[in-house]
Symmetry: C2
Subunit: 213 residues, 2 copies
């Protein structure tokens, strides 16, 4: 049964991937624990890339449209998906959201998944890459305790580095563990609230967009 659900999802994800490629649209799937800072990173990214890159957003949450309101205030068009008891976005939800968003050619679609370091690892949405947002407040052992998500993610954004002086977190140890489960992962160290590292992260997005054409 689980296999059938995943196979159906994989077919719909392949359709989404084609749909996005057909428009030259870059889609990233942002995954993390609850409260790691996905929405704050998105707000910062939208403002940083304003005037350069058109960004549209798919917001996934169990309940509320709080995150969609924040994204709209930051200046991007957004579609909110509420999953209720559901623990992740799936490809069919994203297919509907993409039609509604109608992203222009050569734009970026950021898909903010439900905060969950487990289930979204299994569900391809048709994205170019998963970007895992981790926070220094979560502890440096997360890559080996939640290896499926760290392995599924091409990009790792270590957020809240402004809090490093106040928490026990060994950055080198964390990165070594992340590379143990995913040797090729691309890492950005950022503070979405203070702005550290945001230029590098946005530079990477623009590079990816160039490769989309």
């Amino acid at each position: 049964m689980e296999r059938a659900v995943l196979e159906k999802n994989d077919r719909l994800a392949a359709f989404n991937r084609g749909w996005l490629a057909g428009r030259d649209v870059l889609a990233l799937n942002l995954v993390s624990s609850p409260g790691a800072g996905k929405t704050t990173l998105l707000e910062r990214t939208i403002r940083e890339l304003a005037g350069h890159v058109a960004i549209r957003v798919v917001e996934g949450d169990q309940e509320t449209s709080r995150d969609a309101d924040r994204i709209r205030a930051a200046g991007a068009e957004v579609v909110q998906i509420n999953t209720g008891t559901g623990c992740h976005l799936d490809a069919s939800m994203v297919a509907r959201a993409l039609r509604e968003l109608d992203p222009p050619r050569r734009s970026v679609v950021m898909i903010e998944n439900v905060g969950n370091l487990v289930c979204p690892a299994l569900f391809d949405l048709g994205e170019r890459a998963k970007a895992l947002i981790a926070s220094v407040t979560e502890g440096d052992d997360k890559p080996i305790k939640y290896p499926y998500m760290f392995r599924a993610s091409e990009v790792l954004v270590l957020n809240k580095i402004d809090l490093l002086p106040h928490v026990q977190f060994d950055v080198d140890q964390f990165l070594a563990r992340a590379r143990e489960v995913n040797p090729r992962v691309r890492v950005f160290q950022v503070s979405a609230t203070r702005g550290d590292g945001i230029a590098d992260w946005c530079g990477w997005i623009r590079e990816q967009l160039t490769q989309a054409g």
Copy 2:
């Protein structure tokens, strides 16, 4: 299908609840996002209650036995369950772990669930209560964004209050939102690393144990 899985789990959970009641054992199900501090809170609780209350622990993680090693070092017997790609503990896993742990009469069994603020809300393990560990670094909007877990939890432990000076987090707002989704929730504000609030939390556990007999 999902309904059948949940119904089967609920029957096994009822069996666990009976098994625990038959021994006068108090079981708590600790749930949270990854990295909210469940294991650190457990270490502190075990040390605080040493000599007064016998504590045994069921550790749930996708991978590794790191948490079990920490719990053993803190002085409690522990059984580690690795769920692999699974996103939560279920009642059958806990039934096996209870037999292996063989908790003495009038002891406490702490079940540390997989770090996940979504899926464990649906799976009764036979516990007396779910205790949700939230961290001030996760943001004060989590109760309304993840209402199912906040509603399912009788106890709410707000952890890492030592970090309040360094993060944007409105405690009153957070508590108002938690009570909006769960009016009767019992709240403890703690710092598991520094020790604030631990005496109150441990006092509550001892009270619960008295009522178990």
